[in-house]
């Protein structure tokens, strides 16, 4: 195996690990500004994680190994996903490991085990969280697939690197396809649902009746909680870069030119800064919706993706 791509891979993974909390911090910061509050520093997430790592673990009395190992599995699956999505460069040894569909499935593993962990402690909350989480996921899945389908229509491929490459190599018209626009909108809505942001879920709340993701991990503490939180941030980051790779791949280094990396980094920072702002705008603009409204939300996403697909066949 060539040395360069391997290096790229490692860099990318490190970047992921390092930048995910930063991005989370940035989002939080922008949010505070938008709500006119003084924000914690950008580095606050690092501090939280560090603090959690240093704490002891308290397990519920009948928690089984599932509960204990879920954080590692979640973390592992998310990190592996990070090795597949082209963040800096399309030329990654791992990129062939999974196409978009398999990538989504990687997140599904994480979700599956989180949900199990929620059931493991045997409280009402855990079960409630798992049940709701799985429901939302099941509704998000078809929309996601439809979006992927539409993406792949343009670039005859479902492997992210190739999608990105296809868009990079083609002229600007490719990016302006109506189908891709629809698909992108759908993707954003799905990403919001998957990463548990407002209006679907509110990561900041611990209000019993509204929380979903938090309900599942309610019993976690210490390093377990740290891993889960970290993985969550990585997931958010990855969805952002997934969108970036699939719809705005500009700046991502093509195959084998090391030189493009710094440029790619700069692009990345700009993209994510903007992404954060957009995310905050959405979150502050919308209110957390009632649970059974999520159906409509995700239905809309599915509709958009389908429209994109139709648009491809009809308009392009």
């Amino acid at each position: 195996m060539k040395f360069l791509p391997l290096l790229m891979e490692i860099m990318q993974l490190l970047l992921l690990l390092a930048a995910a909390p930063l991005f989370a911090g940035w989002v939080k910061m922008v949010k505070c500004w938008s709500q006119g509050r003084t924000s914690p520093s950008l580095l606050q997430p690092y501090r939280d994680i560090a603090k959690l790592f240093s704490k002891d673990v308290v397990l519920a009395e009948n928690a089984s190994w599932i509960f204990r190992f879920t954080p590692y599995i979640v973390f592992g699956a998310t990190l592996l996903a990070g090795g597949i999505i082209p963040i800096l460069s399309v030329d990654l040894p791992l990129s062939a490991t999974a196409d978009v569909i398999a990538l989504v499935a990687l997140f599904a593993i994480a979700r599956f085990f989180t949900a199990l962990a929620g059931m493991d402690i045997g409280t009402a909350f855990g079960g409630m969280g798992s049940s709701r989480e799985m429901m939302i996921a099941s509704l998000a899945e078809p929309a996601m697939l439809m979006a992927v389908f539409t993406m792949s229509l343009a670039s005859k491929s479902t492997s992210l690197s190739h999608i990105a490459q296809a868009i990079l190599q083609s002229d600007i018209h490719m990016a302006l396809r109506p189908s891709l626009a629809f698909a992108f909108l759908a993707f954003v809505m799905i990403a919001i649902a998957e990463t548990g942001r407002i209006p679907v879920d509110n990561p900041a709340t611990h209000l019993e009746l509204t929380m979903i993701h938090e309900a599942m991990i309610l019993e976690y503490s210490g390093r377990h909680l740290a891993l889960i939180e970290w993985a969550g941030m990585m997931k958010l980051f990855l969805y952002m870069s997934l969108g970036a790779a699939a719809f705005f791949p500009w700046g991502i280094a093509g195959a084998g030119n090391m030189a493009a990396i710094p440029l790619a980094l700069i692009y990345l920072i700009i993209k994510f800064a903007l992404a954060g702002v957009v995310l905050v705008l959405i979150e502050t603009g919308l209110a957390k919706m009632r649970f059974f409204r999520v159906t409509e939300f995700l239905g809309a996403a599915f509709l958009l993706a389908t429209l994109g697909m139709l648009a491809h066949f009809i308009l392009e």
């Binding site: 009948n62 791992l94 062939a96 196409d99 599956f112 045997g122 697939l145 792949s152 479902t158």
Partner: protein
Amino acid sequence: MIFSPLDLASLSVLLFLLQVLLAPLFRKNERAMVNICFSLAAAASLLAVAAGIWTVENGTTEKAILVLGLPDLPFHLRLDALSGFFLTTIGLLAFYVSVYSIGYVRGFIGQRPVMRLVIFYSFFIAGMFMVVLADDALFFLISWEFMAAASYFLVMYEDEKAENKRAAFLYLVIAHIGAVAILLSFGVMAGLATDFRDFSGYTFDAMRASQFPVEWATAAFFLSFFGFAAKAGIIPLHVWLPEAHPVAPSNISALMSGVMLKTAIYGIIRVTLDIIKVFPWWWGAVVLVFGLVSAVMGVLYALMQHDLKRLLAYHSVENIGIILIGIGLSMVFMSFQMPLIAALALTAGVYHTMNHAMFKGLLFMGAGAVLHATHERNMEEMGGLIHKMPWTAVLFLIGCVSISALPPFNGFVSEWLTFQAFLLSPSLPAPILKLLMPIGAAILALTGALAAACFVKAFGVTFLGRWRGHHKPKIQEVNWPMRIGMMMAAATCLLLGILPTLFIGWMDTIPVQLVGSTISASAGTYGWLWLTPVASERASYSGITVFLGILAVVAAVYILLHVKPGAIRRGHVWDCGFEKLTERMQYNATSFSMPIRRIFGYLFNIKEQVDLAQQSAHSAFPKRLNYYLRVRDRAWGWLYKPIAEASFWLSRKVGMLQQGRIQTYLIYSFITIILLLVFVI
């Protein structure tokens, strides 16, 4: 070579049939009977597996003619790649289940005669082998019904229970009606093949040789599809399945759901892609639609269940649907002369056949283990078994992950391949298909996600949390043979998940023989590590990398975090400051599936009522609250009840004919004569 694969297969069938002589020898010592007979069964299954693997590997086609049957229509045997594959699938699961049964059937000794179970078990497997080996209509149907009858007796095994009787009866009736439909379809084809001059038309070879006019071929196809659908439990012919699987002994449910349903898949492939070969695209569309409906409805019904085995049974409906999706796709592509994509879809379908056999077998064995340990099928009573039965828990979990189509296990690979086939649908010439196919893909995605939800529920409610039941039985881990059987199945699930390229390379003789193309050439281009169905830049997946990747990260992180020993304290769960959190407050199966029930409620026939018994001082705080929920299959009210009522109504009317007065009877003869005479003139 002394032995040919067909000899091996026949030998194994013979061994199974001979059990009927062997078992009675140990009537006195039932334990010995169980050990010996099931060990023999395991050995015989391995023979079949060997024959199957061998055949598929070389893509050979072997024929033989027995002396049995009608002198003009002796039984024909044929072992080609397709038969070989199903032989392997059935044999493999039969092997695991036989090992498992050694332990499982022990539980019956002393309670009820075991001999019946042993004998019909062997007949059942023999019947399935014969079905895939048969090469003429007569022998096929004989084996088909033989299999059905054997499994009927197995469902009837605990024959004093009303539910068993009901289920068995329903099962047999539907199976038989299906069989008659298949018979008719063979009749049509045989008739066209030789115009009934003699018996030669009944051999599949004669049917293969002849070209059918499209309207007759359509009739034949729909008859046989109906028949096989009845066996495969495709909606709306699925109703027998959730009745029969739960009440049968678990090793039997494992076989029935794991492989018996697959014989129907075999039949569909055999009739469409092998015998009829040329057909309009909308046949494939029909199969596809039925597949989609069964898949999504199956999983939704499964979500509503709280009987563990019933839940699994409905998942069989779902997975059969997924298999049919693959086959339907390949039929569509085939009819448009796109052999490569057809091969991809067919591979996906067949691959999923093998996968489903493995993980569904594993899951039913697991359910059997639970049943064996707790004597409880109702999940609402269970919980926390992971502490009491750690082995079973792990193995069952593997099954759950596989069936939920999560990498790196096998379920994901086949579904992923199906998705790839879907993604290639834009290349179809028919525009309507172009627009509709993606919807199908979306439905498949929904199915997969719901399945995951359902198995979070199944595993979570059964094994996690705390025991919900009022009485606390003495639960212990099951015996070793059962564990070993499950372990082997689980290992197969993993291997099929992480080494897809090898498997596809092995089975590529099937698409070669049936659709005249193969994907293994392209699938293996990147080397065995990467699965690239069509082209590497199109899509790729590497199960083993996912597996090792996750494993590596988990290991690394775990070690990193445990360099300095961090103490783990056990503490009470947070009860929101409201004391005495009881087991009954946990989420259970019903509450877990509530959101989905709410969303898809209109698909079921739901009766739900809440009554606040014993009002206390304040109406907001009732002392107790009774919640009653009944979720019914709509198929009953819409299809089966009307049919039953109609036939009873008719029989009442017919009964009027015979009302006892002899004069009336004489009038009948009188009128008959007059009418006939008039008819003559």
